[in-house]
């Protein structure tokens, strides 16, 4: 497999043990996890940052930090990164406020309610926030043999490292969507067609009898024939 671009790109990464499966795991294991989830949903509802920026903020964590950090702590890091980098909050003010809450752990967050914001969230919940956009006709069709590009550009991308350079077959042509690679960096939406592409595990990893289906944007592919 190719080099991993970021700590998040885990497909096929070696060294991981058994999945700790527990059907009765709670959604949140503590109140702060619950709050991180709610804060992320609230701040994305009012579009303080876009979804791709949010993902990229997690993906920029150093690999050791990413791997030693729990899921919702990664979300918290992304919130802190985005809210301060985008100038919504001042980093020094955040540090000061953290110190205050550490000194007074019993202190609660108080302030004005904003019921209209919950109504806005309800609308987003119901109607979604689709990133589908008009684009040129698709370059590939069902059955096309395609090769995933070998090299990823620096920055955010959604092409998993494990398929890079490998040949697959287009199984389905989906709609055109905002390109994460540019949207994460404020370089525009640049919508592209997306495809569901099947790769043989044997080809990708040299073993296995299964098929891996990956969803990719058009610029991640080139004709294989």
């Amino acid at each position: 497999m190719g080099d991993m671009d970021g700590p998040h790109d885990l497909g096929g990464a070696p060294g991981f043990g058994p999945v700790r499966f527990d059907p009765d795991d709670p959604l949140f294991s503590s109140d702060w996890e619950r709050k991180v989830f709610g804060l992320t949903m609230a701040t994305s509802t009012i579009s303080l940052y876009n979804r791709d920026e949010n993902r990229h903020a997690r993906e920029r964590m150093p690999v050791e930090e990413y791997r030693s950090t729990g899921y919702f702590e990664q979300w918290l890091v992304a919130l802190e990164t985005n809210l301060t980098e985008l100038g919504v909050l001042d980093a020094a003010a955040v540090r000061e406020r953290v110190a205050e809450f550490l000194d007074e752990p019993g202190r609660e967050v108080r302030g004005k309610d904003r019921p209209e914001l919950f109504e806005l969230f309800r609308d987003t919940l119901e109607f979604g926030a689709s990133l589908e956009r008009p684009a040129a006709p698709p370059r590939f069709a069902v059955g096309s043999r395609v090769r995933a590009v070998r090299d990823a550009k620096p920055g955010h991308t959604r092409l998993p490292a494990y398929v890079r350079g490998h040949v697959g077959v287009v199984r389905r042509v989906d709609g055109a969507f905002v390109l994460p690679d540019t949207n994460a960096h404020h370089e525009g939406e640049n919508p592209e067609n997306t495809y569901n592409v099947g790769f043989s595990a044997r080809d990708v990893w040299g073993k296995g009898d299964h098929e891996v289906l990956v969803d990719v944007w058009e610029s991640y592919l080139e004709p294989a024939d």
């Binding site: 991981f16 709050k35 709610g38 809450f101 550490l102 289906l213």
Partner: protein, 191 residues
């Protein structure tokens, strides 16, 4: 000072500053989370699957356009704007993963459980699904069953339609929905 205390303080700091700025309300975070705790979860997906089991026309629509078919039941929206349902049979077994983060069909299954988001699941399910299903989920599949692993790496959000259990021929839709588990709709269990 425990790590938990620090994490709690970091979260409170962000929330209190955002409330002070008037960007969110003091009530907003709890209201949003309560929706995911009480309204949205795998019970919704179970309704979809049960309908597919009793109504062949619905099943056909579900497998060709899951977004529209789920919409018939009032199910859809955020993080499920484009839904895809894949059918598990005696010969083909689909399983869903997101290797890059934790993409999951929220309106159908709720927010993802810890094991789905874990690095172990994300790393291993794409590369050795037969072994992970057998050893970690207690689901040994026959060599003659073809496995398809769906990596949710773009905008489609996937769930699987498990096979209807034997002996349920005279059950009604509501009773059927009661046996459909979250795991069976991700593809890490059969019923």
């Amino acid at each position: 000072m425990s790590d938990e205390a620090e994490l709690r303080a970091r979260v409170k700091a962000l929330e209190s500053l955002l409330v002070e700025r008037g960007l969110i309300g003091a009530d907003t975070v709890d209201q949003i989370v309560e929706v995911y705790e009480s309204e949205i979860g795998p019970l919704l997906g179970a309704k979809v699957v049960a309908r597919a089991w009793v109504d062949p026309g619905f099943k056909e629509r579900l497998l060709s356009d899951a977004t529209a078919a789920c919409g018939e039941l009032g199910i859809g929206g955020l993080q499920g704007e484009q839904l895809v349902a894949v059918e598990n049979t005696d010969s083909v077994h689909n399983v869903v993963v997101c290797t890059l983060c934790s993409c999951y069909p929220w309106p159908v299954l709720g927010i993802p459980p810890n094991w789905y988001k874990s690095p172990e699941y994300r790393a291993r399910m794409v590369a050795e699904p037969r072994r992970v299903l057998a050893e970690d989920f207690g689901l040994p599949l026959g060599e003659d069953v073809e496995i398809r692993v769906q990596d949710s790496s773009a905008e489609m959000r996937y769930f699987t339609v498990p096979q209807r259990p034997a002996g349920t021929e005279d059950w009604d839709e509501e009773r059927l929905a009661g046996v459909v588990t979250r795991e069976s709709m991700v593809g890490v269990a059969v019923l």
